[in-house]
């Protein structure tokens, strides 16, 4: 097992290096620089600024310096908001995004799996159609539309929930709902289809023939086998939800890190672009690693480490 983990860690580092390199060169191939705006700065000031951020150096030198900063986890100061370092920005934004993300994930996973199971058990019945209609709506209605609707109905018309901001559990309800519906729908559809497949398996018939109750059959025999595809999507889903979403955070005025992804690119804020990308990629890679570990736990046939073949 440790051998496997070490191997994986090395592979993860290599992946990360690829992503960093690709992002670095892509980023510098976008025309424009952080300093050519309408604001009139004199040539000298511009040159000094570029010198300060080493933007006058050749690209490979900047790349080398950048790699060094990634390895030491110090992304330096933001170019646009020079009073803050990238680390500070992520450190402030991530906990908020993470909080919203975790609650969203819990809601999406549990309700999605429950909806999927119910739909599968009542296959082709009214409840199945209802659940799948909800799921299709959840996938096809963009979350900003849903967020606006929720605010209008629950916060403005009925006035039972706050419109925006992030300060109490009550404030979490609307953004969580808006953010969780999409992933919930994806998980529900996946759970349903893989559950339907598993329920026709012979070992389910065997379990029935043993006289087990439907509850035991579903939760002990079927669900575990049906969850593999769900776990697969969960990795990338979790990474993107946990690192914040631009739209939802904007609508609900949540001080998460979602906005940095978009703003930094618009303003060519190189250190922030690299910081968010490296951060997101790391989380994604770690999640995918966890998914692989979860595979091994869910299905004993998947061996993570080479052992003697029995």
């Amino acid at each position: 097992m440790t051998g496997y983990i070490i191997k994986r860690l090395i592979a993860m580092a290599v992946t990360l290096w690829f992503i960093i390199t690709l992002t670095f060169f892509l980023m510098h191939s976008i025309p424009g620089s952080p300093f050519n705006e309408e604001r009139n700065t004199s040539e000298a000031v511009q040159r000094n600024l570029e010198k300060f951020y080493h933007l006058d150096e050749p690209l490979y030198v900047q790349y080398g310096m950048y790699l060094k900063s990634v390895v030491t986890f110090d992304f330096g100061p933001s170019i646009k908001k020079s009073s803050q370092t990238v680390n500070e920005m992520l450190g402030r934004g991530f906990p908020v995004s993470f909080e919203l993300g975790i609650v969203t994930l819990i809601v999406a996973v549990f309700s999605g799996i429950a909806l999927g199971i119910i739909a599968a058990l009542r296959h082709n019945g009214f409840i199945d159609y209802l659940a799948m209609t909800i799921a299709v709506l959840g996938i096809s209605v963009p979350n900003f539309v849903l967020a606006t609707l929720l605010i209008q109905q629950l916060a403005v018309n009925l006035a039972i929930l706050p419109v925006a901001t992030w300060s109490s559990p009550k404030h979490m309800i609307l953004p969580t709902l808006a953010l969780a519906t999409g992933p919930m729908a994806i998980i529900a559809r996946l759970t349903r289809s893989s559950m339907l497949e598993v329920l026709t398996q012979d070992y389910i018939k065997t379990a029935k023939a043993k006289g087990l109750s439907p509850v035991k059959i579903v939760f002990k025999h079927a669900l575990r086998n049906a969850l593999l595809p769900v776990v697969t999507v969960l990795g990338s889903l979790a990474a993107s939800i946990l690192t914040g979403t631009f739209v939802i955070e904007k609508i609900f005025a949540i001080p998460g890190m979602g906005k940095y992804f978009v703003e930094s690119i618009n303003t060519r804020d190189y250190p922030v672009i690299m910081g968010t990308t490296v951060f997101y990629s790391s989380i994604l890679i770690i999640m995918l690693f966890l998914v692989d570990i979860a595979y091994g736990i869910l299905d004993p046939r998947i061996k993570l480490h080479k052992k003697e073949a029995s």
Binding site: Q201, T206, G211, R301
Partner: protein, 332 residues
Amino acid sequence: MEKVLEVKDLHVTFTTYGGEVQAVRGVTFDLLKGETLAIVGESGCGKSVTSQSIMRLIPSPPGRIADGAVLFKGKDLTKLKESEMRDIRGADISMIFQDPMTALNPTITIGEQIIEGIMQHENISRQDARKKALEMLNLVGIPNPSERLKHYPHQFSGGMRQRIVIAMALVCEPEVLIADEPTTALDVTIQAQILDLFKDIQKKTGVSIIIITHDLGVVAQVADRIAVMYAGKIVEAGERREIFYNPQHPYTKGLLNSVPRLDLDGADLVPIGGSPPDLFAPPAGCPFAARCGFAMEVCDRVYPYKTHLSRDHHVDCWLQDERAQKMLAAVK
């Protein structure tokens, strides 16, 4: 001998988009204590549906027991509540399915899969259940059972898995074991071992076995009595010797003629021409008439009465009808 199970005029239908399929059309048979009954017939004749209907395991909908009764110790299983039926499954009547590679849950240790069955039906501690599972694995010939309990199905070979499936089915000491094609997915040497295991276990526990198969070789090895099914009906039934040496229904004869034999040349293998009738609209008369070399007009129109040839041996065929036999005798 005491009757353990009586199936009376069982009708099973499946509702499909194309209409109602009459998969089982009035099947009647008894199962005696400690005997092995083989139900034989080609694919689609209704033998698996019959066996799964006894356990009430046919997927419903679309399947439905339309008529008839299944009496187990005087209780009609078709009228029990689902919860009462669950108490019977695995405890009084057990079932083994065809493919041991898929019949075990791949994500649960075989120990747990056996133990959960025991715990479901018997009010005993986990420890005792484990002990029982060990004894059972020993009985079916799994070496080193206490170690093997912790293993997952993929760590066993096909034959071993079938032994585990058998252990699982027998661990609550059921009175009836239904084995649906238990050896079809195994290679021939393993087949023989598993069949020996059946006989051995039957001797030790006195369990009655219904074995469903299309393999007459298997039948010859294990069956005490044989029921031949065709198009949802039992067309001939009797003691093993009577069916093998004195078959009376043309379909039974056809089946026996189409088995390869070492003592005859390959050229003598005679297949049965044609294919079974459409069970959406089964024929009014004998379903085999269209493929039968001896068919008469009456065969097409009226389903033959059951003719008893001896105490156990009976056949549904006009050729064996008393009147036909009398006439034959008169001509001779």
